[in-house]
């Protein structure tokens, strides 16, 4: 069926677009930019900021171009006197309820309201200041997210993110009129509500009302402290996004430059979370196979299947609140960050002969939930807090700028040789479906002794940005000790974004879906779309980052976790075997059922 086409004019230029197109999108087609604030590509249309209003000739009122679909013979003016007057007034109104201390603001330079204020040269504040007469407290209760209502312009992007993308509903609208605000349940502090710390709200907040808790100064102080050995680890998704903050286009891989920059910042050792991602595959893959064996051979009815991944701390907090009955299904593996933290203060300390109390372990993550995860009381298996500070990709970019490093011109360097080795399987942890793909590459080979039957190891059915993906492989050619798996159809599912995760788990709960293994990432697109990644985000940007991840994988010499020589080495020298005693002590954890309210 062909779409009906609609003819209209915008600023007297004729344009033909498909029926259902909004005025905003039709204008974009003509390269006419209409400013927006509450509009976000990832979210449903709200039409509440009214910045995007345009004049429709013949209509008394202005139309919100993001919300109104085109109609035949519409005549639209995007820059008439009436529009300009209204738009300027609206921006001034927003500024009057916004604490505009831009130079002191964490989001200075990356604020959509600031951009608009600049564009419209709002200069002298025309209206009365509404901020100072109200009292605001900044909610700093969460280790991940800071919420400052005095900067909030009530666009409700965060509310829509929390509800639509994440299905969490930690943020919602409270009160009406002049008291209307974005609030948590019963206005409780953020750390006492169902917030998963995913930070997706931060990624979509147009101002500085929602930002990450930053630990930049703490990390600088550690670096400056001569008695401390500061070890840094970097997550897979950071390397494909950091460039966006430092002058590159989305989708540029900057791994070598990032390593080089980290050395220049003064980190004593520059290590790679990818190493423990490989280790996670060994542990988690073995855990899955063990569970399958118990279910299929021992006919153990207490074994919890499907098994779900545990790398995403947003997902962990979510399932603790929302589906606590499924906690036994979650892999007991710590996330790669926390495995790394536990090993840095044990294995690494021993090998380097450093007292673990002198090690400061820092991680660079695409994630804000990792900040919360690092502070969980159960994450102290090394005898110390395993990961001391978690910085987001954005915070790292700030440090690089502060240090005067010209990132664009930096030479590329390699990670340290010890705990810096990784494979392509670890890199793809950064994209939705990546853990599944990495696990399959290894598990298949453990069971059959041959590589997964996909061209060039690329398990394409688990890739892509569909909210929920399903895949299944029928196992054949098993080695004798795995013969119970011969002919078994291994059914897998992948969800990213917690709303999708919720839908998938509900299906499992209702008995409508039957899987062996489920990968869940809290953030849309997986870690590459994480709450700590560069702002802005959009489906297009996330697609580019994913392409970069898979291209990084293709360029790696080793692409299967079990091929990582360092992984073999650590089992030989330190851990023993996957799921062994030492592994259990350092690399595995437990979860806690939490209430919704």
């Amino acid at each position: 069926m062909t779409q009906k086409m609609i003819n209209l004019t915008i600023n007297n230029i004729p344009v033909t677009v498909e029926e259902g197109t909004t005025i905003l999108d039709a204008a974009r087609k003509l390269n006419i930019r209409i400013p927006t604030l509450c509009y976000h590509e990832d979210l449903c249309v709200a039409g509440n900021c009214r910045v995007c209003v345009v004049e429709q000739v013949g209509m008394r009122t202005l139309q919100a171009s993001c919300a109104v679909p085109v109609r035949e013979n519409m005549q639209i003016l995007t820059n008439s006197m009436k529009v300009r007057q209204a738009r300027k007034n609206i921006i001034e109104l927003l500024l009057s309820e916004h604490r505009a201390d831009c130079t002191k603001c964490y989001k200075n330079g990356n604020c959509e309201l600031q951009d608009l204020a600049n564009e419209y040269r709002t200069g002298n504040q025309m209206y009365l200041d509404l901020v100072h007469e109200k009292s605001f407290t900044i909610d700093m209760s969460s280790p991940s997210i800071m919420k400052d209502d005095s900067k909030c312009i009530r666009c409700q992007r965060c509310v829509r993110t929390c509800a639509e993308l994440q299905g969490v509903n930690a943020l919602s609208v409270a009160n009406k009129g002049h008291e209307m605000k974005i609030s948590s349940f019963f206005e409780k502090p953020m750390h006492e509500v169902v917030c998963t710390n995913c930070g997706q709200c931060i990624n979509r907040c147009p101002t500085g009302a929602l930002v990450e808790r930053n630990y930049i100064d703490e990390v600088w102080n550690a670096i400056y402290d001569p008695t401390k050995h500061v070890a840094v680890q970097t997550a897979p998704a950071v390397r494909v996004a950091l460039g966006e903050e430092l002058g590159f286009d989305p989708g540029e891989r900057v791994t070598g430059k990032m390593v080089s920059a980290l050395r220049r910042l003064g980190f004593n050792s520059v290590l790679d979370t990818d190493f423990t991602a490989d280790l996670t595959i060994m542990e988690e893959g073995t855990e899955l196979l063990t569970r399958l064996k118990r279910a299929l051979v021992d006919k153990d009815t207490t074994v919890s299947l499907p098994m779900t991944t545990s790398c995403s701390p947003g997902w962990i907090k979510f399932i603790e609140h929302t589906f606590p009955e499924f906690l036994p299904n979650v892999s007991t593996c710590k996330s790669p960050q926390q495995m790394f933290g536990a090993l840095v203060k044990t294995y690494y300390a021993q090998r380097k002969n450093i007292n673990p109390k002198d090690i400061v372990s820092v991680s660079i993550m695409p994630c804000t939930a990792k900040k919360y995860e690092a502070q969980r009381p159960e994450m102290r298996d090394s005898g110390y807090q395993d990961v001391d500070y978690v910085l987001t990709t954005r915070e790292l970019a700030i440090m690089i700028k502060q240090a005067g490093i010209e990132f664009l011109k930096l030479e590329e360097e390699q990670y340290d040789r010890f705990m810096g080795n990784s494979t392509g399987a670890a890199v793809i942890f950064g994209a939705t479906g990546g853990v599944m793909e990495a696990a399959l590459r290894t598990a298949w080979e453990i069971v059959t002794g041959t590589p997964v039957p996909f061209e060039n190891l690329n398990i394409t059915p688990v890739r892509g940005m569909e909210g929920i993906k399903e895949a299944s492989v029928t196992i054949s050619g098993c080695k004798p000790e795995w013969s119970f798996l011969e002919g078994v159809e291994l059914r897998c599912a992948i969800a990213h974004g917690l709303a999708n995760a919720k839908q998938l788990m509900q299906a499992v709960k209702d008995g409508k879906a039957n899987y062996h293994f489920i990968e869940i990432m809290a953030c849309p697109g997986g870690c590459l779309g994480g709450g700590g990644q560069p702002i802005p985000t959009s489906p297009e940007i996330r697609k580019k980052r994913a392409e970069a991840i898979y291209s990084e994988d293709e360029h790696m010499k080793l692409r299967k976790s079990h091929d990582n020589p360092e992984v073999a080495q650590i089992y030989q020298e330190f851990l023993g075997e996957p799921l062994g005693h030492k592994s259990h002590e350092l690399l595995h954890t437990h979860y806690k059922a939490r209430k919704r309210y």
């Binding site: 709200a46 009122t61 927003l94």
Partner: protein, 387 residues
Amino acid sequence: MESNKLSRVDYIFRPETNRLDLLKRVMSKDKDDFLLELIDSGLKGRGGAGFLTGLKWKLAKEAAGDKKYVICNADEGEPGTFKDREILDRVAGKVLTGMALCGYIVGADEGYIYLRAEYRFLSPKLNKMMAGINEELKSIGLNFKLGIRYGSGAYVCGEETALIESMEGKRGEPRNKPPFPVTEGYLGKPTVVNNVETFVNTVIIAEIGYHEYKKLGTDSSRGMKLFSISGDCSKEGIFELELGMSLADFVDEFGDGDTKAVQVGGASGFCVPRKKFKETIIGFEGIPTGGSMKIFNSSRSMYNVLHNYLDFFQEESCGQCTPCRVGCQQLYKGIMAVKRRERPATYLDELVKLAETMRFASKCGLGQSVGNAFVSIVENFREEIVY
């Protein structure tokens, strides 16, 4: 300008004649013929916005949908109006008949009264009546069921899409339009939302015929209207009058002899000063009203009147869209700042421009009409605001 002389009529509160006969009579005719008659009668929505009722029903009838709804907007919240309460108290049967009539015409099988929380005392009586009527309708083969839904006290829920959101259990915030409720309303289905008085009018038209109805009122404002009259008046209460009289006639009848201004249409309406009484027609050709008529005599400070309205709006804005949420606060605090000499008198001119922006750019009728009272009071009583 020629105008009708003020004339009192009595249709609305006349006791209901035989409901089933009336419905059967309509059901024996072609639906489209009835719609044409309704459109031809010129009846416009009595809530204040004045959309042609027949056209609204026609759109809902033509809208595709397996399920349709009829909603009676009884969230009477406009300051100074109290006529819907009286209708529901005295002739609720007519309202329910009108809803059933609408359900039959548009093809809806469920109808709800959205009753403002403060009118909960009416519900035992309404529930009882509805149960009876539900049975009666069944007996003549009309598949239509009536029920009540309660508001929770927000003014904005009188706006039809906010009302629908509220009925769906959500925050009462207006939706983006289009789509309009006639195509996507309650639970996403085609929905007719009409005011209490509008439904009564449709019954009157069905009863007396559109020819007879058209004799009432003027070309642009057909029919009669209930007015809720309050303030400094000689007679106060609810009066049924033909539309299209001049405000001068109105004040002659209801004023206390010292009338300075009349606020026509409540807080969201216009303030008319004495010098404009003669030229002002009450009706869609002049100033339309949902029924609220507040009369102020010379003892009243128009600053206080405006202050009161703006305080109301800054609280009752849903807070969703910028022009209304922040604009209301700025107008409210702005006149105080001028009064206190913290801003020059010329700041009022900036505020008038802001009120214009609110009129053009707000998402719903609430924000779009705040400027009515503001501009009309500031323009006509500027000295009272400043000094």
